[in-house]
């Protein structure tokens, strides 16, 4: 299973996600990337993230994405 940071790096290889605390403000993820990321997270963890949870606040940094995964039923 891939880690969140591996998935992020596959989607946007030009950025260093480990060095950012706010992917949205830093311009590293836009709304289209979020949709791609949700699809990759769903597949990787065998979950289905709700459309209502696809909001920028849930994709700000690694911690908020991991919290979203837990909320969506992903097992560590």
């Amino acid at each position: 299973m891939k880690s969140v940071i591996e998935i992020l790096t596959e989607i946007r290889p030009e950025f260093d996600f480990a060095a950012s605390g706010d992917f949205i403000a830093d311009g590293m993820l836009d709304s289209f990337d979020m949709v791609t990321l949700v699809s990759a997270l769903d597949k990787n963890w065998g979950i289905s993230i709700q459309g209502t949870d696809i909001v920028p606040e849930n994709f700000q940094n690694l911690q908020t994405i991991e919290a979203l995964l837990r909320k969506s039923g992903a097992k560590p």
Partner: protein
């Protein structure tokens, strides 16, 4: 349609459509600062429907349509029932991969929406190259606003390409987001961009007809790349049929990244 007075009304309407949604669908991803500008200028309207919220932005002689719906069926049923569709020119954008877009298209086409244009996103990654300087390029100034608007309106499709209003151009000039090349005092070319953090988007790159072949476009693009040396991701949207522009963008390192924007329209007739 009800005029929107605050951005809170927008978010309340979105939440209302999301409540109990099983397959929430939307094409509305508002950037707070832009949304505030549209509201302040009286351009935003809302239509609350059963399990859906429709947002309309008045843009020149038509309405730009954004939707939030609990599922595709709610979208299809409620847009078909909205009376304004019979009297207004309405344009909407569907962005994403083919399967996601096709589901939404099949919800909108029964109501009369038809494809008007198709845009593709081009991306350029890595550090900008330092090219040779050409013609002198500077930032547009306040007095350039009407000329910038005139040049953009003369060269781009107002339905397909989300053209800015004069107040948006004036704000962009103030924020130093528009580079310009002048010939004597006349605006020969421009590049209008939006930069956030490590990403930058070209919104418009334009050269006036009579100044073509003078390398105005190259000069302004080189300057744009030069002043964005910290940016790692450059994007833009271009009409898939505009082969001339696509060739020029490729010259500067841009390439399609697979994202497509289907622009659908209703009521345009022969405009």
């Amino acid at each position: 349609m009800t005029p929107i007075q605050t951005s809170g009304e927008v978010f309340d309407a979105v939440q209302r459509a999301k409540a109990g949604a099983t397959a929430f669908c939307t094409n509305f991803f508002p950037v707070e600062s832009k949304l505030r500008g549209w509201i302040d200028h009286g351009e935003m309207f809302v239509e609350l429907r059963d399990r859906a919220a429709f947002f309309f932005r008045k843009d020149r002689d038509f309405l730009r349509f954004y939707f939030c719906a609990a599922d595709g069926a709610a979208l299809q049923r409620e847009i078909a029932a909205w009376p304004g569709l019979k009297t207004e020119r309405v344009v909407t954008d569907l962005v994403g991969n083919e399967s996601a877009v096709n589901n939404l298209r099949s919800a909108l086409e029964p109501a009369g929406f038809r494809q008007h244009a198709q845009l593709q996103r081009l991306m350029r990654t890595g550090r900008p190259e330092s090219g040779a300087d050409g013609l002198p390029v500077g930032f547009a100034e306040k007095a350039d606003g009407p000329a910038v608007l005139g040049l953009i309106e003369s060269l781009f499709d107002r339905y397909g390409e989300q053209l800015p209003m004069l107040y948006e151009i004036e704000a962009a000039i103030e924020n130093r987001q528009i580079l310009a090349v002048r010939n004597d005092s006349e605006l020969a070319g421009l590049l209008f961009f939006e930069t956030q953090g490590l990403a930058s988007t070209v919104r418009f790159w334009a050269v006036a007809e009579k100044f073509r072949a003078l390398k105005v476009g190259s000069a302004v693009m080189r300057q744009y790349l030069k002043i964005h040396d910290a940016v790692r991701r450059f994007t833009l949207w271009v009409n898939v049929g505009n082969e001339n522009a696509i060739r020029k963008y490729r010259h500067f390192g841009y390439a399609p990244d697979g994202l497509i924007d289907h622009v659908l329209a209703s009521g345009l007739g022969s405009t």
